[in-house]
Assembly symmetry: C2
Homo-oligomer: 178 residues x 2
């Protein structure tokens, strides 16, 4: 999927609606991907994103050690692969190979982009003070990529225990909100 | 809308998909309601929710002073009212009266429930250490209410500048994820 760079000032519009994301890391020569729903925008520009990564996850150690990751946003076509990534651990399997996801090189971080995702956000961990307390990481988006063909992407939104809401129609209302 | 109590252990399923919420407060005899999209689950039970409330908002002072609020989750039928609440300030208008929203008494907090919302989460502020740094509040959900008739609610998900994605179809996949 050919991507173009996406303005950092517009990144909030990708994450505000609450999509399931695939978080990728690379550490000690191994790339990994985990499924995540607990994230929020914290600042517009540079875009700051807060997210919870439990210490149980293989990705936790990589995130702490490398302070880099990519947030990849899948659409509904990737639902089964996203669930597979959530059902397994990178300690035991290479999820890219096992589930047929394609790692692609990022521009600024060692963690790979997931080529099949319509948007990819290269991130640095910029605040770890709440990692011990809440497993909460503050990420800064350094570089964003988007598939220019993606209009109203059918993102996945987890409701718990494998139930996902798929993004539906888009409406536009006269808003002064950013 | 008649509500029933909703188990705290299932609250994450209401907020994980990233819906726009209406945050209500009550302070010095005035109730207010603001529109918010920047929130994330932080813990399952008791449910902890992190959210950003800018210091520019009238609700900010009420939240700091009272440490109580309600997160009300609207469906698409309330889209225009949610935008109206985002386009105006409680400093100048009584948004409940002006926009036709009904305040209903909560069980454990002074802030009102928005009766028209299909779910209402009564919350206490439990951590203010990142309010100065990020305008980030950690809320604990004390009591949750839901409209038992709401199945696959058509929640609103902001993409920026008045563009909203409305919750679409629901799919179920075999998941070990909570």
């Amino acid at each position: 999927m050919a991507k173009r760079a996406f303005p950092l000032s517009k990144v909030y519009g990708l994450l505000e609606p609450g999509p399931v994301v695939l978080l990728t890391t690379a550490h000690k020569g191994r790339a990994n991907v985990m499924t995540m729903s607990w994230h929020t925008m914290m600042e517009f520009e540079p875009p700051l994103v807060g997210c919870i990564v439990s210490g149980r996850h293989f990705s936790f150690d990589a995130l702490v050690a490398t302070r880099r990751c990519v947030l990849n946003i899948p659409t509904a076509e990737l639902a089964a692969k996203a669930v597979n990534c959530g059902n397994s651990s990178g300690r035991r399997v290479d999820k890219f190979k096992t589930f047929g996801l394609t790692p692609a090189p990022a521009a600024l971080v060692d963690a790979p982009l997931v080529a099949e995702c319509y948007a990819n956000l290269e991130c640095a961990v910029v605040d770890t003070r709440w990692v011990n307390r809440y497993n909460f990481f503050v990420l800064e988006v350094l570089k964003a990529w988007i598939d220019p063909a993606a209009k109203d992407p059918r993102t996945l939104h987890h409701r718990g225990r494998g139930v996902f809401m798929v993004a539906g129609e888009t409406i536009k209302l006269p808003s002064k909100m950013k």
